[in-house]
């Protein structure tokens, strides 16, 4: 079953590469990118934007290619809210990069967001389960 969750407001688009024919688009719900970034930072520790993008692509399992620039608004938003904090560090390959780490406020916010996501996802899933019967 295919479905579109379309959100016009500040939607973030995960899209397949143009070469793979019919592009299945999945628009993320607003705020879910925040959740994804925060979760990635808790599981992996401090990461730079490229690292976060690579992690999301890896998790996505299918040949999705994230338009990596779309991460930046989320990073600004989270940093302005005080949920993450960026510092300049050097990578293993000896390149400089801005590493983002989750703050205490960010950890609290993540718990809150996970809770909210599970509740709304649970509702949608139950709804779909009853309808497919």
């Amino acid at each position: 079953m295919r479905f579109h969750l379309i959100c016009k407001w500040r939607s973030v688009r995960l899209s397949t590469m143009r070469s793979s024919g019919e592009p299945p688009r999945i628009d993320l719900l607003p705020g879910t990118l925040d959740l994804i970034v925060l979760r990635t930072l808790t599981t992996m520790g401090p990461q730079h934007a490229y690292g976060i993008a690579a992690r999301i692509e890896q998790i996505a399992e299918s040949p999705f290619r994230l338009n990596q620039g779309t991460l930046y608004p989320a990073l600004v938003r989270l940093e302005q809210r005080g949920w993450i904090k960026g510092t300049w560090q050097t990578t293993e390959s000896n390149r400089e990069a801005r590493y983002y780490a989750i703050t205490k406020a960010g950890t609290r916010a993540l718990a809150d967001q996970i809770d909210r996501w599970q509740r709304s996802a649970g509702l949608v899933n139950r709804l779909l389960a009853t309808e497919s019967d």
Binding site: Y50, A54, N67, V76, R95, R98
Partner: protein
Amino acid sequence: MGHVTRFFRRLLNIMRPGRDEAGLERELAAHVLLLEDEYRRRGLSADDARRAARLALGGLEQTKERHRDARTFRWLDDVRRDAIYAVRMLRRHPIAAATAALSLAIGIGLNAAVFSVVDWVLLRPLPYPASHELVRVFTAGTAPVTGPSALIHDEFVVFGQATAFRQTAAFTTTTRVIAGAGIEPAHIVVARVAGDLFGTLGVYPDVGRAFNDDEVAGRTPAVVIGHDLWQRRFAGDRGIAGRIVKIDGAPHTIVGVMPSSRGYPGDADVWRPLTPAERADDDRELAMLGRLRSDTTAARASAEIATLAQIASKGTRTAWADDLQRTDAGAVSAALHALFGAAMLTLLMACANVAALVGARGADRAGEIAVRGALGATRARVLGQLITESLVLAVAGGILGLLFGRWALSGLVAMAPVGVPRLAEITVDGRIVGVGVAATMLTGLAVGLVPALRLSRQMETSTVNRIGLYRTTTRPTGRRVLVLVQIAIAVVLTTGAGLLTRSLQHLVTIDHGFAADHLLAVDLYLRGAFTGDARQLFRDLVANCETLPGVDAVAVSMRLPTQIPGVRARVQLLGERDLDSPATLRPISPNYFDTVGIPLTAGRRFQVTDNERAPRVAIVNATFVRDLLAGRPPVGTRLTTPLIDATVSIVGVVADVTPAGERDRSALYVPIDQLSIGGGYLIVRAQGDPRSILPALTTRLRAVAPNLAVDRVRRVADGLEESRALARFSTQVAATFSALALLLAVIGVYGLTAGEVSARWRELAVRLALGASHRGILWNVVRPCVAILAAGAAIGVVGAVGVGPALASLLHGVDPADAPTIVAAPLLLGAVGAAAAVLAAARVLRADPAATLRGE
């Protein structure tokens, strides 16, 4: 919490644009490098890796834009950027910008000032609870028909029964003298009250209490005093209740103090209930107030009391109720409406000027707009930018305008006639600043919107390749219409000012019938302060004051020469029936005519020997001779009148007095020694400025009569001024407005001509190079302006004739369609406008045409 922090961080980022820009640049560069590393590791060439990295990021610039969007508020940032750009644009054309800002400052400032007065006097509710329910009641005769008048007590009682009123009260004011232990005798305005005035208004004393039943019934004399008197005479003593003061010699207990600026009527110093005797007399002197029930209207109340009045008067009188605030504003309201109209017209002219300036610059900017469009700016974005520019201009004008307005307001208040209610309250407060800001913004939109729409429309049609080669050659029709409108408005304003000036001129050159300059009048009020022989007191006062240095002459009179009405008495010529109409009795001391400067035309003056033991004598005025004597020789005629105990001989004739043009009534001047008076005025003619003798005069009066209140001393000329004050005020303001309007119109014409000349400069340069004469070119350029001037002036004249009747109530001795004014105003405008046009054209033509042609 995080959301609030973010909001402020975004806001903060607007203040410091570009602060995070370097960090972002660095971060993105690092990101691209990491991606490149990855792609190279996968085996791509360096070039391919770089391209793939950028693709994966989704475009460097787009990412930056996304970052900025999230970092700040984009629209606010745009506004900031546009504002900075606008300021830069304005600074590049400082003269045009300054002209526009000053035009707006004049328009906005005048409106703010005039609006403050209009707001306080006409719009703001009176300072009483539910003040819209308050009405003033009038009555008038229907058979015979008379003008609106005050009420007698019986009418007040009858009207008070109307069901439309929840509560009613009435009052009448008189001047009395207050005295008491530790208080210097002083004149005060006493409001004598019937009914519950405080209850009707909904305002009560804030120190002490209102009257109790005993006091209302008049059994115990009590007063409530006003806030000003309390501060002035009793040093704001909060324990004042219970203190005894003497009013006209009779003791009264102070029971309360009214709150500041809340007493009604505004000029009252003291309130006391009417005594039973005062209620019983049928003096038509009560001003009645009513508070309507919340479910009714003034019209319904009017219908009801009209019926009551007709029944009570057996069909000879009617009555009606009218909104209290409107009634109080009275004649001032017409002047204020005229003023407000003039201020609005001035603002319109200012807007026209600025719109013309903005529009003219628009022609130069078509290229810039086209480039912006080609680079991807949307029409909305360009529109926003252009309007921001107008708003920046308007804000500059608005700030200047509010400063100018404060100054203009203090001028207005200083010039305003005393009759304007609530003058002391007028201040610039948040409400007025708010209106000023709104006016500014609206002005900005008004002047910016039309040119901006036109320019941005051009953006869609214009082609970039034309930039720099051709200027837009559209005829400046819009601009011409604007200037035309300006001229018309200026003609209307100038005509109005001209009419008012001629009216004032008429009032100033009026022959009052006496010499008002150098005259001082001291109120002498004897009741309660003096019990001896008044005649002797007056003689003493005159004798003592005559010897003061700087004093020319001194007299005593019951009335001032500015006061035509007075005590009227029937007159019977000896051996004949009563004369048709009564004469006004004017008791005076012997040297009154010399002191005041009324010429004697026949017979003799009064002498000291015309005392109480001598035969009764009188001097009549010219109107008396003309209207009552019907050709009999005045001197030697003998008559009787009820107020004088014996037959009176006319011994002389004097000219009429005509203060401020008022017509005199037939008057009989009699010596105060033969018709005793209980009070009047000491009239002093000074040799120089009457104010210079004031201190010595006051001291001398106190020495002669220590119990007398001599605090009320005024210049007789001030009494004449009062009647002219409204006219003078309207004239000064209108003259100021028309001068400013003239200035704005001149700026408009100058700008129009200069604009047209520079737009046609290439063509004109070619003509000059081919040998056209400067004079011919000048005429060619100025001609359309002259046509506009003529058309504008013609429309203005029509407008002025149409507006004239609205001014009629402010004009004295001048017809609203006064021909000289209506001819002069457009001529003046035309002459000044033509001069401005020639000046503007000549300035541009002074440049060298050859240089221009070579430059292209």
